[in-house]
């Protein structure tokens, strides 16, 4: 503890008082840790929602997309006229452009035989539209009509069917009333709105969905020739197509649009922020209770310290010292618990839940703020301690 003494330039009174009552100290740390866990889980879920929304976008191998101006993300993408995609091919700097067809279709779940819906992506098999492991360079496998690749990390009990596909068994199921044969798997993962997914050729897509028009794909994918700036090329495409029915933007810009829509237009950010605030309130109440009762227990000692010349400021620093200790003592176990929680959630819902460093920093700052505010409230008693009380 001599380190603490060096840092503070005085005996670490706050620390000594806390460890003098180890049960209360552990309770306080547990309270802070619980709040930290709560906050991390809320932020984790919120981020999972944001991330899974753009997860598919991240897997598409394109520098620029041509989308409906009202497109929000790849699931709610609407359609664009195919000629806009073809027009883009004529723009300087465009190496390649192709149409991607996306639709939610009804299907019979191969595991249970129940009806459900599946996200079907259709693309020309020689375009190699995805970076996903198992898809890159593999699309030619679905060139035959009625064949599909199945997302092995779909949500549901698909272990058997995936094993059969990987064993080369080519099981079948019914999609939109027609037979589809699974010839392989890839790993992408479910989102909040989509449980399972499959990829087919554009020709199979049209066969499964007779009403969808080959002339109105969901979006156009554009690849830029080496040495060209995607921003510039997107600008030139927009000049060329000059339409109200389609707009070109870089993939990062499209991902931003999707995120911003969720943050600004949906209640998601509000709901999870509310959860974060609840966590902070719970933590602050716990810390306040602990610090206030610690102050209460030591009023006689504080009065004595004031009588021998301790200033209010020095006594306040004791409570802040305790707040800092509780921040650290609660944050670290809370972070560890959150990492465990993330792992459990990720396994249960087959959606990615990650712990970026900036979130760790944010929650640490929130925890510190929470403890400081609670400490400040607990302190009011210290300031009011009357040193003359030691004679009472």
């Amino acid at each position: 503890m001599s380190v603490l003494r060096q840092v503070l330039g005085r005996t670490p009174l706050g620390w000594r008082q806390l460890v003098h009552n180890p049960i209360r100290f552990l309770m306080a740390c547990a309270g802070v840790a619980f709040a930290v866990l709560l906050i991390f889980m809320q932020l984790g879920f919120m981020n999972m929602l944001f991330e899974t929304t753009v997860m598919l976008q991240r897997q598409v191998d394109a520098d620029i997309v041509i989308v409906n101006p009202r497109a929000r993300d790849l699931i709610n993408v609407r359609t664009v006229p195919r000629r806009r995609v073809i027009q883009a091919l004529g723009v300087d700097g465009v190496r390649d452009a192709e149409s991607l067809y996306i639709s939610n279709m009804s299907w019979i779940k191969p595991d249970s035989g129940e009806k459900g819906s599946v996200l079907v992506l259709g693309v020309r098999t020689d375009f190699d539209a995805f970076k996903t492991p198992g898809l890159r360079g593999e699309l030619s496998r679905v060139a035959a009509a009625g064949t599909a690749l199945f997302d092995a990390v779909s949500r549901g009990n698909y272990r058997d069917i995936v094993a059969r596909i990987q064993a080369g068994e080519e099981p079948r199921t019914e999609v939109a009333g027609r037979n589809v044969t699974f010839v392989g798997t890839y790993r992408l993962g479910a989102t909040f709105g989509v449980d399972s997914g499959m990829i087919v050729s554009d020709q199979t897509f049209f066969a499964l969905s007779p009403r969808s028009d080959p002339g109105t794909p969901s979006l156009g994918l554009v690849r830029v020739a080496p040495g060209f700036d995607p921003e510039d090329v997107a600008r030139r495409i927009n000049v060329m197509i000059d339409g109200t029915d389609a707009v070109a933007m870089t993939m990062p810009a499209f991902i931003e649009v999707s995120r911003n829509f969720l943050i600004k237009e949906s209640p998601i950010a509000f709901i999870f922020s509310f959860g974060v605030i609840m966590g902070l309130v719970v933590g602050a109440v716990v810390v306040f209770q602990i610090l206030a009762s610690d102050v209460q227990d030591h009023l006689a000692e504080y009065a004595m310290l004031k009588a021998v010349g301790f200033s209010n400021r020095t006594l306040l620093s004791v409570v802040y010292e305790q707040a800092t200790i509780l921040t650290i003592g609660g944050f670290l176990p809370g972070l560890a618990a959150a990492l465990g929680g993330y792992a459990i959630v990720q396994r249960s819902v087959t959606m990615p839940m990650t712990m970026p460093m900036d979130r760790v920093g944010l929650v640490l700052a929130l925890t510190a703020g929470m403890c400081l505010i609670a400490g400040t409230l607990a302190l009011r008693r210290v300031s009011r301690v009357d040193p003359a009380e030691v004679f009472a």
């Binding site: 008082q17 009065a303 009588a307 030691v390 009472a392």
Partner: protein, 252 residues
Amino acid sequence: MTPISSSPALVAIRGLNHRYGIGATAKQVLFDIELAVAPGEVVFLMGPSGCGKTTVLTLTGALRSVQEGSIEVLGHQLLGASEKDRVTVRRKLGFVFQSHNLHPSLTALENVRMGLEGRGALPRDTDQRCRERLAAVGLSGFEDRMPDKLSGGQRQRVAIARALVSDPGLLLGDEPTAALDKRTGYDVIALIRTLAKERGMGVLMVTHDNRILDLADRIIEMEDGRIIGEMPVPPRAEPAPLPASPVLRIAS
């Protein structure tokens, strides 16, 4: 009083009045108190409870604002002193209380340190000084004991070491022997007396303890907020534990 004019008193109280409460409900608790403590002098303040002796002590200790009259402590006028001034004065004083008020989560040595901390930068030899003070109250080897592992008398001696570690010019005591048995109580006050004589430190102490009266230089009696006179100091029952040093004897 000639002693005051020739060598300035550590405490000089003149015409002190004090009231608790305000307006119609105000109750006057001190009336025209006159009191002085010279360097090295041990003064006891006695009287029935509620007679105002503790109020005199808290006012002298700069723990309350003086309302009327004059209190000079170690050269500081407390009438009209700000909270900041009073903190400054407090830091020059030593306090020993009825209950020892040791910090239960600190060792004996750290408790003594509290007498120096809280007043800015600590001298490099702080711990050494604290050890010396503990030795002076006969507690060498007890530095790392927690208060709950010390006897009542030992705790009170730690409290005295804490009061003395800052070399105060004046020690204020509030029934420091109340919680101690006869023998321990006597030894603790005898120790304070010895230190007072050695250092020229003044001692002003409220007490009800008849067993220690022979250790006083003067015993002032109070009743109903007034000083009613001085009691004769009984003959010393036991010899003073240590003779005062010659230099300080002259000063006192």
